[in-house]
């Protein structure tokens, strides 16, 4: 066995241990930290599986955004005293059995699959040069399965609407209740002044490079969202009210551009979401730029939470 195999085996063992630690943690906070560590380790696993785009997204979303969301949730729960809620034993046994069934199904599908797997990968690579893209993932996202990507972005907006609708009626159009730092802290201010410019450059780079190398709108948008959240948490900027016109324009900008290009394809290239020959790459890059803005706004607002009712202090 080569060293690489040993390293991979060690990585798998570590991932399983951290996963178990997430489940068996006593407190919500411990489980969240274990989950963040799990996400970061999983990014390394994706890298070993040569899925760099997925690794980028895992490190960003699984490591960063989800971690921040869950930490905030755990902190809110901590402030509320409640009795420990434990499900009855039959319910837990049933849940355990169903989870084991799902795991067995996945294992079976992977281990018992036929030797020769039908794959579209060769067809993808063969036709990729016609789109002008160098990254097969971008090709799949924007050329072969563009409809799925368009619908995903709309789903993101719907999720945001769902989060916003958690607010009481009078709080609609209010400011999200993102918990910020207590009082101005010079160290945090320093971080929030230096890091975001770097983050913005990296985010733009991620979006731009996605056409030819792993990256893309989603990864770039996540970085931009995280930087914006950092600035808000450090009290260097206020969270925008959810009724803010510019915010709403930014949110729909991506899907609208995507949809317009798709509809224009009906006229220019004879099919919805088809690209006129030779213009595929510029159009796709334009869509990615628009999507980066929307994804950044949507993810930041998702993490910020529902608008808080204005309280009498």
């Amino acid at each position: 066995m080569t060293i690489a195999t040993f390293a991979d085996a060690g990585l798998v063992l570590l991932v399983l241990t951290i996963g178990a630690s997430t489940i068996f943690a006593r407190r919500a906070f411990d489980a969240v930290i274990a989950f963040v560590v799990y996400g970061l380790l999983l990014a390394i696993v994706w890298v070993r599986l040569s899925a760099i785009d997925v690794a980028l997204t895992e490190a960003a979303i699984g490591g960063g955004m989800t971690g921040m969301l869950l930490l905030g949730a755990a902190a809110r729960l901590r402030a509320v005293e409640f009795d420990s809620f434990a499900a009855a034993l039959p319910v837990r046994l049933c849940a355990g059995f169903l989870c084991a069934l799902a795991a067995a199904g996945l294992a079976g599908a992977l281990l018992l699959s036929p030797k020769v797997v039908l794959s579209l990968a060769p067809a993808v690579m063969e036709n990729l040069p016609r789109t002008g893209l160098g990254n097969p993932v971008a090709g799949v996202l924007f050329a072969y399965r563009a409809l799925d990507t368009l619908l995903e972005k709309v789903v993101l907006l719907l999720a945001l609407l769902g989060v916003w609708s958690l607010a009481p009626n009078q709080a609609w159009n209010g400011i999200p209740g993102l918990r910020i730092y207590d009082q101005p802290n010079t160290t945090l201010t320093f971080l929030a002044q230096i890091l975001p410019p770097v983050g913005i450059v990296v985010g733009i780079y991620m979006c731009w490079v996605g056409a030819n190398e792993p990256g893309g709108a989603f990864q770039g948008g996540t970085i931009l969202a995280a930087m914006w959240l950092l600035v808000i948490i450090a009290r260097l900027a206020d969270a925008p009210s959810t009724g803010n016109t510019w915010l709403r324009i930014g949110l729909v900008f991506g899907p609208v551009v995507f949809l317009s290009v798709g509809l224009a394809g009906l006229v220019l290239a004879n099919a919805f979401l088809a690209y006129p020959p030779g213009y595929a790459k510029p159009l796709i890059v334009a869509i990615e730029v628009a999507l980066t803005i929307s994804i950044a706004a949507a993810l930041a607002m998702l993490a910020a939470g529902p608008p808080k009712p204005v309280q009498q202090q």
């Binding site: 760099i52 402030a79 792993p214 970085i223």
Partner: protein, 91 residues
Amino acid sequence: MDSFLFLIASFILTTVAGSLIVILRRPAEVDRIMAAQLLGTGGVAILLILATATETGPMVDVALMLALFAAFVSVAFVRDVSHPENTAQRR
């Protein structure tokens, strides 16, 4: 060279893993966020070594992401630790 790089990456992985297992058994929250930070730095080192070993440039981008977001989670932690609600009931 490649085998050596993988060896070093495994060594760092083992080191980080060993500390993670021990740290995560300590009850204090700060110890756990330190474990997450340690993993962030260790993960960046492992990814950079792997990038050179497999000659895949984009892995350095993943390391960049890890670096940015490890700091982000720590900021969220410090925010929660210093919020007045936390001085209320603690289970």
